[in-house]
Symmetry: none
Subunit: 214 residues, 4 copies
Amino acid sequence: MEYNTKQIQIIEVAERLFADKGFAGTSVRDIAQEANVNVSMISYYFGSKEKLIEALFAMRMGESRSRMETLLSNEDLIPIQKINILIDSAIDRLMGNQCFHNIMMREQLSSERTPTISEHIRTLKMRNIQLMQKLIEEGQAQGAFRKNIDLSLMTTTLYGTINYAIATQEFYKRINGLEDMEEAEFQTHLRRKLSQHLKSLFKSTVTNEHHNQD
Amino acid sequence: MEYNTKQIQIIEVAERLFADKGFAGTSVRDIAQEANVNVSMISYYFGSKEKLIEALFAMRMGESRSRMETLLSNEDLIPIQKINILIDSAIDRLMGNQCFHNIMMREQLSSERTPTISEHIRTLKMRNIQLMQKLIEEGQAQGAFRKNIDLSLMTTTLYGTINYAIATQEFYKRINGLEDMEEAEFQTHLRRKLSQHLKSLFKSTVTNEHHNQD
Amino acid sequence: MEYNTKQIQIIEVAERLFADKGFAGTSVRDIAQEANVNVSMISYYFGSKEKLIEALFAMRMGESRSRMETLLSNEDLIPIQKINILIDSAIDRLMGNQCFHNIMMREQLSSERTPTISEHIRTLKMRNIQLMQKLIEEGQAQGAFRKNIDLSLMTTTLYGTINYAIATQEFYKRINGLEDMEEAEFQTHLRRKLSQHLKSLFKSTVTNEHHNQD
Amino acid sequence: MEYNTKQIQIIEVAERLFADKGFAGTSVRDIAQEANVNVSMISYYFGSKEKLIEALFAMRMGESRSRMETLLSNEDLIPIQKINILIDSAIDRLMGNQCFHNIMMREQLSSERTPTISEHIRTLKMRNIQLMQKLIEEGQAQGAFRKNIDLSLMTTTLYGTINYAIATQEFYKRINGLEDMEEAEFQTHLRRKLSQHLKSLFKSTVTNEHHNQD
DNA sequence: CATGAATGAGAATTCATTCAT
DNA sequence: AATGAATGAATTCTCATTCAT
């Protein structure tokens, strides 16, 4: 599905508003107004508000992909390096699309998911977990990673930590006395901190070195 | 503020629906209907839908507390044991009040927070992080924990992982082939898995043993 | 009909609020709250909101009266003196019960009058016009007043002027630079001005002196 | 602001109902029903019930004006003739827009005025009083009018009398045995009577002839 | 292809009154 | 005799969508 300029404009405004106020909390009028289009355009272009959010998912899902897969097939990298690439890639994806991932988080909190959207989310999560699995199994095969790693919970920790960090970034600022930091600078700062934190976390946990299991 | 039986009944229904469909996505009619009360009772008892969710927060915040603090002042426990207690306590609290913590998560995703609620959340998060800080500093003082621990991100990982695990539990079921497990049993299973995972994660990360920083 | 203390308290609060915000614009809750009584007291004591305003009319109508009639039967007074007494008496009555007369004015503006209230108002107006008629006829009989006086319009001017002056007193203050005058003082000032104005108006108009009709 | 046919239709129905039953006493449903439009049209066109009455004021205020000003700048007229024109003009305006002036009277009786409307009323009253002032000062300059004329109270008498006459016209009919007179004829009759009455009143009061002040 | 006008359903809240005690 | 609890009707307004052009 290809979208024209006006449609993309609407989708992007909708994305921001859905992230800010939730799907139900955002009216098509809000969207139309901020996107400088007529209210009836939303129904006209997308059919309904429901279909609009589906279009948003369709668009955003079509984007990402690929780039990383090539990186990870590089045979020169040792397992922990690949994990680190995975971590940075996740941070980049989530922090670079905060609005969209905010919406995705909300959707996962809901019991009222649209089948289409649920499917999108499931696909994405599947892809994420399979990638993780591949890397971990590689590491295990090379004897670099320990055996009993809870794959789904490691993934949960990865995405849970990033998502939660994004959701609570204002609190993080306050706690760490960064209220006055320029926004762009803060985003960079948070990415770096998250990167260090998660890499350290994963390294200690998945590698075989001196680890004594409880 | 004390609430009578009917008020509590309303609050509990509201809690479930807000968790399921979000605040804006839940109408007072929905709540009234499921709680088997007249629609106007919500305004009558709480003043407004807004005040109702505030009452929910007031009630739930008034509960928790204390129990744990005594546990952690026990001097017989070594640092990592206290951390483990903290982890189990967090899992218990979040998994035992999934609806409420779902709502809290939603609130944190929103830019449109009510001041009262924001304050509640801030208080709660402050309490959590301070407890973590106390335990970690204790462990560091005893030489059991390593020095450079990112306090706020460790907390983020703790709560982020649990929240995300709860939000994606259906996916977890499917991935791990647990679709047929009895619900109660699954909850227990998930708690135990989370407990093991987080304890292992924290142990590897915070303890001093052979850790080589990157 | 006799009213007990609490009933009178309610009536008086209602009078003030009806004057301020109109009958429909005032809720029984407003009244109950300001009168420090339970909401259900209004229905309990008066039967309904409608009946409450009827009770107000009944009470206020029962008051006034008499005092003036004796004054005007005094045979030592010349016609214009009696007219002046009538004017001052009207000013006193209207300005001393601004709330009630505000309500009465509102009722006259309405097409939705309760029969009871309409009847009260008619009675009152009848009494007023008959008194005016008596005085004017006396003056005419004595040759002091001119013949062709429009009785009902003279009465209209008397009450219309006072009512309008009361309704627009804030504007009067501003126009005459009296914003800073103490309220009580202003009331006295306005009464005196109105008195002078109306007496002068009536004297010029009703007396026979050199009047040349158009 | 220009209003389309349907909007004007709504405004006119609203005007009549607000005059009949007051602002608070009139529901948007009443208006919609009588105007044969959908209830939501009122919000759609005007934003709110509040804004609707503001639109009414805006429309009615935009009308009147000017016509009279030219009349009064005619130098051939002697002062008392100009006063008479002013009187007739006031009668025409108020009696020709009874509904609107009824609403304006109600607004003046209220403490809960919308700023916009208060401003309109203030403007109108200011214009009225300034016109009166101009005429009276002209008359005084020519020696035709006496010196100590209470400007604001003369204006009060003018508008107070007309307003009160309109408000009590049913009573007037009854008193003067005009119940059976055709409505249009009665309106003409009342205008003529008011005109005579007020002209006579003003002439006696403001002209210098033989007036002896008390 | 695009849009302004229009709408009916549903939103939250307030209302005067009633009822059980 | 008095009152707190409760209620259903009615309030204004917003909503997503449709329709005629």
